[in-house]
């Protein structure tokens, strides 16, 4: 299946009554907006969580190195 993404503000070609396609009300339904917001929340949770995990791992390793040096 091919996907064709069409700009809603682009002018239609080959039409004697050339008009701009204005985004309809359905395009901004709360449900549609909610789905988009959910994806950005996911982005923050997934990448933010991974970045925090990486900071925590670095910190744990630093403590391990310090303990190792301190015990010599």
């Amino acid at each position: 299946m091919m996907m064709f993404l069409q700009d809603s503000t682009a002018k239609q070609q080959g039409d004697s009554t050339t008009t701009a396609l204005v985004p309809t009300a359905e395009m901004r339904t709360p449900q549609n907006v909610g789905y988009l917001q959910s994806v950005y929340v996911e982005f923050v949770l997934i990448f933010g969580g991974y970045i925090l995990l990486s900071f925590r791992r670095n910190s744990n390793l630093r403590h391990r190195q310090q303990r190792f040096r301190g015990s010599r």
Binding site: M1, M2, M3, F4, L5, Q6, D7, S8, T9, A10, L21, P23, T24, E26, M27, R28, T29, N32, V33, Y35, L36, S38, V39, Y40, E42, F43, I46, F47, Y50, I51, S54, R57, N58, L61, R62, R64, Q65, F68, R69, R72
Partner: protein, 243 residues
Amino acid sequence: MTSASASPTIQNSERSSEMPGGIDWLLVLALVAFAAVTVRSLVYTPIEVRQGIAQKIFYVHVPAAVISLYVSCIPSAIASVMYLWLKDERLDRIAESLAEVGLVFLTMVLTSGPFWGKTTWGTWWQWDARLTTTLFLWFVLVGYLVMRGAIEEAEARARLSAVLGTMIGLLVPFIHLTVYLFPTIHPAPVILAPQKPQMSSEMLITLLSSFGAFVVLYAALLRRRYRWATARDLQQQLENQRA
């Protein structure tokens, strides 16, 4: 571990195993770039005529998919094959880091896709070839990392991981071809297609900007992960030499 030439002296190890502190500027740059792309996507990119505002999920979903499959899994498989050939522990660390960061991006793909699917297909999930094989890849990557954590002996861990990592690489071309080989509701590639992209220039610029931001984020996470793995292995060497 496996390569004598790659095992430094204790003194050198102590210096190079130090975890770099301070601000990770590449990570900061990645987050700023992503924020800028988000603003461009939401404010300055036109709404798609049929799918509406939810189509903007495209600017997160597609770059994350391309990076996880083609920039993570394939190079991880190449590093795995090279490890089996050269037995260089750095290649094992590269493969491990690529696989883990790739898993994070693939998680983003699998969790953002259903929101877009619900809008355009009317369903959250479909057990078709593309979606199912991508989910399968996610489980294999999780298995790869769990397996690494379960094997104590470094050389055995690296060797078995390299074999599984190679298999992961073989899955990717198959996943790419599923949209051509099987009936599926998932669209064929828009960017990696033979013909020119079917979208307006503003949408294309936003998509390419998003790719750029995701690549910087990917590079920042990969660099952090690889540095941590290097410091961990050197620390382990020090502890083993002392024991």
